[in-house]
């Protein structure tokens, strides 16, 4: 990377918002966006369950921060910070990984094509319920969204990006709309 250029930082939320705690990644990113304004070299991407289709975004990033639900057999709602080479180990496909492509494979594909992020962090959360199709986040996971967002802000600062808490009532572009934003989705499913 050019020493005089700001690193391109990608914050990526992945998972399915229609599937209870599987939605953690996207909801954590949505929470971050509601709480913080970051410098222009930081971009936010709701990756959903796009798998391999995310490879170009990963390739373009110098630093990558991922939010995702990780099944690590911990207490539901436990946050886990994973860094660097440890990340692919946490993102492999197993029985729980019903997705065609584990995020590990997206990382490998980025590696093969050229463009593996220089810095990589995963903020994971242990889900409680993955069976509840159409359900909202469970309480233990929802309770961690703020902390996950705060943790991301600290990491961004460490990466040299500026990040500030939004003022009360500050207008901002929401990450999700059309009734699938957290407030509307969860109010109606609770």
């Amino acid at each position: 990377m050019d020493a005089f250029r700001q690193p391109k930082i990608l914050m990526l939320g992945i998972g399915n918002i229609l599937w209870a705690d599987e939605g953690f990644g996207v909801r954590a990113l949505e929470t971050f966006n509601a709480l913080y304004a970051a410098s222009p070299n930081v971009s936010l991407l709701d990756g959903g369950t796009q798998g391999l289709y995310l490879v170009q975004f990963v390739q373009e990033a110098d630093y990558l921060l991922v939010f995702d639900a990780i099944d690590y057999g911990l207490e539901p709602g436990t946050l886990k910070l994973v860094q660097g080479d440890e990340v692919p180990k946490f993102t492999g496909a197993k029985k729980m990984s019903l997705h065609q492509t584990g995020f590990q494979e997206v990382l490998s594909a980025a590696d093969m094509l050229g463009g593996y992020p220089e810095k990589l962090v995963l903020i994971g959360c242990q889900p409680q319920d993955l069976e509840d199709w159409g359900g909202p986040l469970t309480t233990p996971v929802r309770d961690q969204l703020r902390q996950a967002a705060d943790l991301a802000a600290i990491i961004l600062e460490q990466w040299g990006a500026r990040c500030r808490l939004r003022a009360r009532g500050e207008a901002f572009a929401p990450l999700l709309g059309n009734d699938i934003d957290m407030t509307h989705y969860e109010i109606q499913t609770l």
């Binding site: 992945i14 998972g15 399915n16 918002i17 229609l18 599937w19 599987e22 991407l45 709701d46 990756g47 959903g48 369950t49 796009q50 798998g51 391999l52 289709y53 995310l54 490879v55 170009q56 995702d68 639900a69 990780i70 099944d71 690590y72 057999g73 692919p88 180990k89 946490f90 993102t91 492999g92 496909a93 197993k94 029985k95 729980m96 990984s97 019903l98 997705h99 065609q100 492509t101 584990g102 995020f103 590990q104 494979e105 990382l107 490998s108 594909a109 590696d111 093969m112 094509l113 995963l122 994971g124 889900p127 993955l130 199709w133 159409g134 059309n178 009734d179 699938i180 109606q188 499913t189």
Partner: protein
Amino acid sequence: MGVQTPNGFNLDTSGKRIVVDPVTRIEGHMRVEVNVDSDNVIRNAVSTGTMWRGIEVILRGRDPRDAWAFTERICGVCTGTHALTSVRAVEDALQIRIPENANSIRNLMQLALQVHDHIVHFYHLHALDWVDVVSALSADPKATSALAQSISPWPLSSPGYFRDLQGRLKRFVDSGQLGPFKNGYWGSKAYRLPPEANLMAVAHYLEALDFQKEIVKIHTIFGGKNPHPNWLVGGVPCPINVDGVGGVGAINMERLNYITEIIDRSIEFNDQVYLPDVAAIGSFYKDWLYGGGLSGKSVLAYGDVPENANDYSPANLLLPRGAIINGNLNEIHPVDHRDPNEIQEFVTHSWYKYPDETKGLHPWDGVTDPHYELGPNTKGTRTNIESLDEGGKYSWIKAPRWKGHAMEVGPLARWIVGYAQGKPEFKEPVDKLLKDLGLPTAALFSTLGRTAARALESQWAAYKMRHFQNKLIANIKAGDSSTANVDKWEPKTWPSEVKGVGFTEAPRGALAHWIKIKDTKIENYQAVVPTTWNGSPRDPQGNIGAFEASLMDTPMADPNQPVEILRTLHSFDPCLACSTHVMSEDGQEMAKVTVR
């Protein structure tokens, strides 16, 4: 010995049972069990979707104008096509007419999705059923170059190019991280390509991965963002402002020219890479013509890509519409989504409850009431099934039937209908490909035929993109910049009770959403997705579904390495539309194959 199904298959469960769970490289979670005879030929097949999807339940009570945003999240790969189907269902219910530009733009988005999805499916989910990645390491780069140049003018074909690529692949494999290539049975006797063809295919695997990002820019431009582009009931959300410069969101000439460029490159990639690859790979497998299943018997296509806006009649649809039953290509039956006796879903073998399960329900009156119970001959426990009892309930997928018939849907179904209608744009490329391979028409009804039809369709779709792009530009130049009709946007303009149906041809096959709206909210919403058709379990009459039928009578080289099963199932591009993916500490697990 065995049981004859009404749709013509002889099921024999006496041989040993093989369980593949999960079937890898698909969207969603799927399990397959087969019985093989003493020669390892498949004599019974059971396919099950092991995840419940309840979009119907989620949508009840919501604003119909937002339904597309939810349905876009059902699935990780065909997001846009669900959104399009959803807005069409709402427009049908509320009798909303869309502007001509909106129709062209929607077609461009849908066709771009077809091309994108077909290319990604072939190279990244399916090619590895035919291509042995590890064998590519022993290829001679010079011979690979000669092979590549003999089949296509594609410029990336020098010996040096393949040598570099082989080096990259070798470093990758040596580092122990097979990554995207990890779920393969490398070295299996079921692989037939010479090392050079394998290396060429691996090169194109990477090129396709790099190219796919260009195609989706069409969604970014028209849909405002990607992933998860925006859609709009009544049209498309992007305004047109041809004189605008760099305006955010608006479509101007600069953006349109950029799209033209992407379309040209898509045509080139299909013509010079995808099609030649399929023909080359096909030439090594042309005596492996298993997997036809229902394709030679019963196929269904809804049709899609309306030439003119608001006319969904077969004559106006560029992708063909119709049903063929019992292998009679001389008779193409009309299909009516609204007729309660045509499309019905059964649950006798599905984990749902109906008041009377001997009868099917039309989707407008559909019921989604989960009910998990296992048949008496199930082995194992409720949470850890060793083998399923297909005599009882055994899948989360319902069993849709058209006038009682199990049907195959997808690119092959569409191309068979188009072929049977005698339309030159479908018939001629099929005949040419078959002639080049020295194969009879009957060879089309196979796994390879399914794979080839998808490639032909990708090529077809890329040229149709050019057609709608030209049409859009001409219409704009003629002074029409309208992209949305908002006359009925306000719910107070709606009748108190209406129902509608929207349909598309998703990359994997016929897709329709049925909606009932009451007092401005969704009262019932049912989606019958392509994989519900193809992956359906048995029905009350005992007809087996398309996946199950396609596996019948296929010989396996080694039951412990189910390459043949994966190859045939992948040829449908299965999508169980549930897409959850939690990361786990001990990744790396390959599909478990159990032989009993």
